[in-house]
Amino acid sequence: MNQQYSTVAQRTSSVLETNKVLRNTYMLLAMTLLFSALTAALSMFLKMPPMTYLISVIGAMVIAMFILPRFANSTAGIGIVFLVTGLLGFGLGPILSQYAALPNGSNIITLSLAGTGVIFIGLSAYALISKKDFSFLGGFLMVGFLMVLLAAVANIFLQIPAMSLAISAVVIMIMSGFILYDTSRIVNGGETNYVLATIGLYMTIFNIFVSLLQILGIMGNDD
């Protein structure tokens, strides 16, 4: 009898912990998305040069990979997440300015934003409601991401527009897989740190948005 009570108590505690991680992750994600929208607007207002994107992405990646994991369990981690997402948003400014200057630029940006939102909410809702375990995707997604990075390096030298389009399409598919993988990890208790969970989901949203911008930008300007 006591053992039954203990098992029920452990399960309840585990569910409460998962719900807490989920709630904190989505709250921090919403705030960081808002913050990066603000820094993107600031960057557009300041008319930053295109190299801002490259410098911001490199800076954000270095901070996210080497500094953030050391502070992930402290309150400083939240500040570092804002720094990373703010930098990435600031880097997006010049890219958005370039698209906004196109004849149907505002349409491309709005569709990319709406498309990213629909993909993220749809896949997150599926992983949350179904509670399926997508941990089997881990190796596949990482290898796929590595292949995409190698293709991206090759295309810097080859400069083939069709390859760039294909890379963006594959990035959207891989990032969709990462949304399922990351969300199911939180739901099934594999990820208990909301700071790391937030940065992972933010990166998927960022990559889907940039890839959609590129695809819609190329396909929307074929006249």
């Binding site: 295109p50 190299m51 490259l54 992405v57 490199i58 990646m61 990979m65 149907n104 349409n107 491309i108 569709l111 990319s112 498309g115 629909v118 993909i119 896949l123 599926y126 399926k132 997508f134 941990s135 089997f136 995707l137 881990g138 190796g139 596949f140 990482m142 290898v143 991401f145 590595l146 990075l149 190698l150 991206a152 390096v153 810097i156 030298f157 399409a169 959207i172 598919m173 969709s176 897989g177 399922l180 959609l212 695809i215 819609l216 396909m219 929307g220």
Partner: protein, 59 residues
């Protein structure tokens, strides 16, 4: 070749090198999915692909 392209390529290569041990570890330690798990994933990706194609039609 512009300096921005060289810096981009170098940054990506460094990123790949840093990422590689994690990828190998993930491949070795990931649980295997059943065929129904994979079919489910493929179906979801097909829906996402269809949605992106719809967005392309809208632009």
């Amino acid at each position: 070749m512009e300096w921005m392209q060289i810096v981009s390529a170098l940054a990506l290569v460094v990123f790949i090198v840093v990422l590689l041990p994690g990828v190998i570890d993930r491949v070795k330690n990931s649980p295997k999915g059943t065929s129904s798990d994979w079919m489910n994933f493929v179906f979801i990706i097909l829906i996402v692909t269809g949605f992106v194609m719809m967005l392309i039609k809208l632009v």
